[in-house]
């Protein structure tokens, strides 16, 4: 239930209630308004304790992550397995656009997979990235109950997730298609049982917290989930009903009459929920749980976890459909002598050797006193997520504002590991002489990054690959200058960063919603798929094939005067940051070369920009 699918008041109501009683609420995939991170005057906190990182990476910046107690990677969703979500343009009002770091009225598509997770190793990398982005936060991976979830859970535990959530099929946003709501996923009981047994049998259970959700409503549901192995329990439909939801099932139509699942300002006035209502409901759940615990002879919830021997199948059921069902496998309790049935130890995230700590030592004064500093380090490909911890420290001190531009100038020599410059915030300037691997500039949050050929190199930079795939995935703000060719999915889900690159692979600028991308060389196929915002400029220095573009959402245009200024400005930066030969060449012959640029303009974006301009004029008239 992101802010976007439900109203601000309903979302904040849940957060306040949970924060009052020591529970945790979830931001959902839509980012979060920064003013919720501070406590209110009356002491209430509207901050979402768990912050979600979904495939769209909406609102995922260093500041966002630094204000989380738990960061949740949404691998799947009970009601939408293997699908992304889509918020249509008209529903993206200015406040939602702001929170999702996008442009108003531009449609927002969450791509089906996370583009940085194509294997369990990739997931381990993302968990590492997020742990670096906020080392106090627990990293949570949300899976869906299905056959085989046990094996997946084991992999996820090995990938160092702190919490594993098994979601049942019953929950789910009202914005899912009905076929998904009803016919995908399995009950949480099966998923939890399988996950618990697999983790225990493989001696992995002690390192993770197992969480469970999917239409949990009563103390009895919690008791069963606990006895099957869960130690944390999620609710969403039930507390919303306690806040006033009457199950209209019209959430996707934006007409919720009780002001919960709607953005319509008129209807939102009808929201009457209060934190007390939710707290009251939770009290009853806890009370019922206590009664069951007393019945079973348990004094604490910890004692109950995984004690599935206290569950039994109902006897004497005569119905022909149910008669033959044997629940033994679900209720099976692995025999464990010293192996724990619940979470008893922390994961070892192996953060000790992270390069950032070395940098922090030397940069501490610069960060604390905002003194301009330049530092140089060696880097190797086992140095991953470089810049994330630094950004976290800066975000903790200065919030979204970060440091003044180029306060901390870091130069690295060598081959950088995965996720170089991930979450880099304003004030950081990070340059690599050498090359980088995948996920360069992931979720860039305002910093300046560049990767350039080593000073002594003799090869042609614009003909050689210098950075890996999925660069600038979910970038929000900042600049990137790449002195060479990048891999596939360059700038996928970019919401606002500016980037210059000398050639890219397939699927360039996929699902982009904002920012400016300048490509000075070849592009691969399927360019601009799902691109609903932002602008791209491409230099036509060779054979230009229109067939390389996915024309469903974009138009190709000639550039105008404004575009010329933008491109020349970017070229100047690119030369200044990377000494790029091709940038130098084009600038020197600018008069002639400027006609060699073509503009990729998403159709929705054009309409949105016109609408915003119109609104501005109307405001001025008023």
């Amino acid at each position: 239930m992101s802010y976007g699918s439900i109203s601000k008041a309903a979302h904040e109501n849940l957060a306040m209630a949970m924060n009052r009683i020591g529970g945790k609420s979830n931001s959902g995939e839509g980012g979060e308004d920064f003013n919720r991170f501070q406590k209110d005057e009356n002491g209430d906190s509207r901050n979402s304790s768990i912050k979600q990182v979904a495939s769209g990476r909406f609102g995922v910046s260093s500041h966002y992550l630094s204000n989380a107690d738990e960061i949740q990677i949404k691998m799947a969703q009970g009601a939408k397995p293997g699908e992304g979500g889509q918020l249509p343009g008209p529903k993206v009002n200015p406040s939602i656009a702001k929170v999702r770091n996008s442009t108003p009225y531009v449609g927002l598509i969450s791509p089906p997979p996370h583009h940085d997770i194509y294997s369990i190793e990739d997931l381990a990398q993302l968990i590492f990235d997020l742990k670096n982005a906020n080392r106090e936060a627990k990293i949570n991976v949300k899976l869906v109950s299905e056959v085989g979830v046990g094996t997946i859970a084991a992999g996820v535990a090995k990938a160092k997730a702190d919490v594993i959530l098994i979601s049942g099929y019953d929950g789910g946003t009202g914005a899912s298609p009905l076929t998904s709501l009803r016919h995908a996923g399995l009950p949480w009981e099966l998923g939890i049982a399988e996950a618990q047994q697999t983790l225990v049998l493989n001696n992995l259970r002690s390192r993770v917290v197992l969480e469970c959700d999917g239409q949990l409503k009563t103390g009895r549901d919690v008791a069963i989930a606990c006895l099957l192995g869960a130690e944390e329990f999620g609710f969403s439909t039930a507390p919303l009903v306690a806040s006033g939801c009457i199950m209209m099932r019209a959430c996707h139509l934006n007409i919720c009459p009780v002001g919960i699942a709607t953005q319509d300002p008129e209807l939102r006035k009808n929201f009457k929920g209060k934190p007390e209502h939710i707290i009251n409901f939770m009290y009853f759940v806890a009370q019922e749980l206590r009664e069951i615990m007393a019945n079973l002879g348990f004094r604490s919830v910890e004692e109950m976890i995984g004690q599935s021997q206290k569950l039994q199948a109902k006897k004497g059921i005569e119905d022909y459909k149910v008669k033959g069902i044997n629940l033994d496998k679900i209720l099976y309790k692995p025999i464990s002598n010293n192996i724990s049935l619940r979470n008893t130890e922390k994961q070892n995230h192996n953060l000790k050797k992270v390069l950032d700590f070395k940098i922090l030592k030397e940069a501490k004064l610069s960060i604390n006193k905002k003194i301009k500093t330049s530092l140089e380090f060696k880097i190797k490909n086992t140095d991953r997520s470089v810049g994330a911890i630094l950004s976290n420290e800066i975000s903790k001190l200065y919030g979204e504002k970060g440091l003044p531009k180029e306060t901390l100038n870091l130069t690295f020599n060598g081959s950088a590991g995965q996720s170089f410059g991930a979450f880099a915030v304003k004030g950081l300037k990070m340059t690599v002489f050498g090359n980088t691997n995948d996920y360069f500039g992931k979720s860039l949050s305002g910093g300046i990054l560049s990767v350039r050929v080593p000073k002594s190199s003799t090869f042609e930079s614009s003909l050689n690959i210098i950075t890996g795939n999925v660069a600038l995935y979910g970038a929000i703000n900042g600049e990137a200058y790449i002195n060479g060719i990048a891999g596939e999915r360059f700038c996928v889900r970019n919401s606002g960063a500016k980037a210059v690159v000398e050639g890219i692979g397939d699927h360039g600028c996929e699902y982009m919603t904002g920012g400016i991308v300048l490509i000075l060389g070849k592009i691969g196929r399927n360019f601009g798929a799902g691109m609903s915002g932002g602008i791209s400029y491409i230099y036509r220095n060779q054979e230009f094939l229109k067939t390389k573009f996915n024309m469903e959402m974009i138009d190709l245009e000639n550039i105008n005067d404004q575009d010329e200024d933008i491109i020349s400005g970017l070229l100047e930066n690119h030369f200044s940051y990377t000494n790029s030969k091709i940038a130098k060449m084009v600038l020197s012959k600018w008069g002639k070369e400027k006609s060699n640029f073509i503009k990729v303009m998403p159709k929705e974006y054009k309409i949105a920009l016109e609408k915003i301009a119109e609104e501005k004029i109307n405001q001025l008239i008023k």
Binding site: I246, M248, R249, P257, V258, E266, N270
Partner: protein, 483 residues
Amino acid sequence: MGKIKGFKEYKRIDEKYISVRKRIKNYKEFTINPKKSELNSQAARCMDCGVPFCHSGCPLGNLIPDFNDLVYNNKWKEALDILHSTNNFPEFTGRLCPAPCEAACVLGIINPPVSIELIEKQIVERGFKENWIIPKVPKNKTGKRIAVVGSGPAGLAAAQQLNSVGHNVTVYERDSKIGGLLRYGIPDFKLEKSIIDRRVDILMEEGIEFKCNIEVGKNLEIKDLEKSFDAILLSTGSTIKRDLDIPGNNLTGVIQAMDFLTHSNKYVDGEIEKHYDKYSAKGKNVIVIGGGDTGSDCIGTSNRHGAKNITNFELAAKPSSERDLNNPWPYWPFTLKTTSSHEEGVERKWSVLTKKFIGDKSGNIICLETVNVEFDNEKKRFIEIPDSHKNWDCDLVILALGFTGPENNLPIKLDVKLDKRGNISSNSNYQTKKNNIFTAGDCRRGQSLIVWAISEGREASYHIDKYLMGSSNLPRKNSFGDL
């Protein structure tokens, strides 16, 4: 529902009335039909809720969002079929029902609810106008014979349902015409009697036999009844009038509402020629004791008689115009209601208890004495407020105090049990102590609404059919409870 945001675009339109001045000159219905475009916009207000509370608000389980959508899309015949699938007599409920469906309407949380009753009435009236409502004679007969005792809405609904699956149904009515309270208790200006006749004609053509002026147990022997029929349905209504046992209650001019209304209805209908002074309000100071629907009907009728003035007493306190916190949506709101009859002229007084009637030497009432009361929540009864006595001049006092239960001579003769409240006792299959005797309506539930009576008749007919044949295809509502 038709239009997705219809509820935001259109406001609720209520049924309009002819002006008070004009309408009290006669006994005709005084509602004005809405325009077609208005009906369309009213149907568009329905939100087609994922959980339609109107379904369970309605005692019949009417498929309201469905017929709203059909009306919006101008599919009137289909709308009529949907309406008839759950309601035998929408023309009665469409005029007289207090509309618990509207009280439960989800739109009612934020806006005035959908005008469901208005739409229901228009659908059935259109149906009659277009001759879509025709007798449905069953093809095959079962040979089973059923007696229905009492021709009110419960008995009529059961008769129609049982006849439709091929049973032979005979309806016994002790009055001279069909309808029970519909005809004799409700004034013409709320329900013109031709509306009843219109439907009864169809029931007759469908094969139902009606025998009026026969009171079972008096001019028809019980043993004859039991011998001639395979099953009997008792739908005799709740007819024992509550009395006010205080000094002077046998004075001339102190009458029961039912006697007053029945007499007036028979006079308007032409069944009796003379308007007896005993039951006339013309030129009199009238006091109606009882603030319910019957009291309201007495007010309307008295105004049409030409009463000099009318005062209406109610024992309970004046309700507020807003829902109490203990009375939330979607339950029936216990709030102040002002009916069309109230608008025609009355002075309403709440928290009033009548202590005695005072007459002149000839035994005619001249005034009554009241005291104010307050409900004590602890003692759970009304207590008198000291020093609040007041005298009221009056020439006619009409007691509209409700009904306490069915007359018990017939149940006793049939040897069926009565429950603690005096109603005919039945199990969950509407069956009495005797296997082949069933009961439905007010005589089983206690005094209630027309819509409940129709529901009772329908449900009982399912059980009777099942009893006679082993199984039944008659429709039942799928409710686990009601609001």
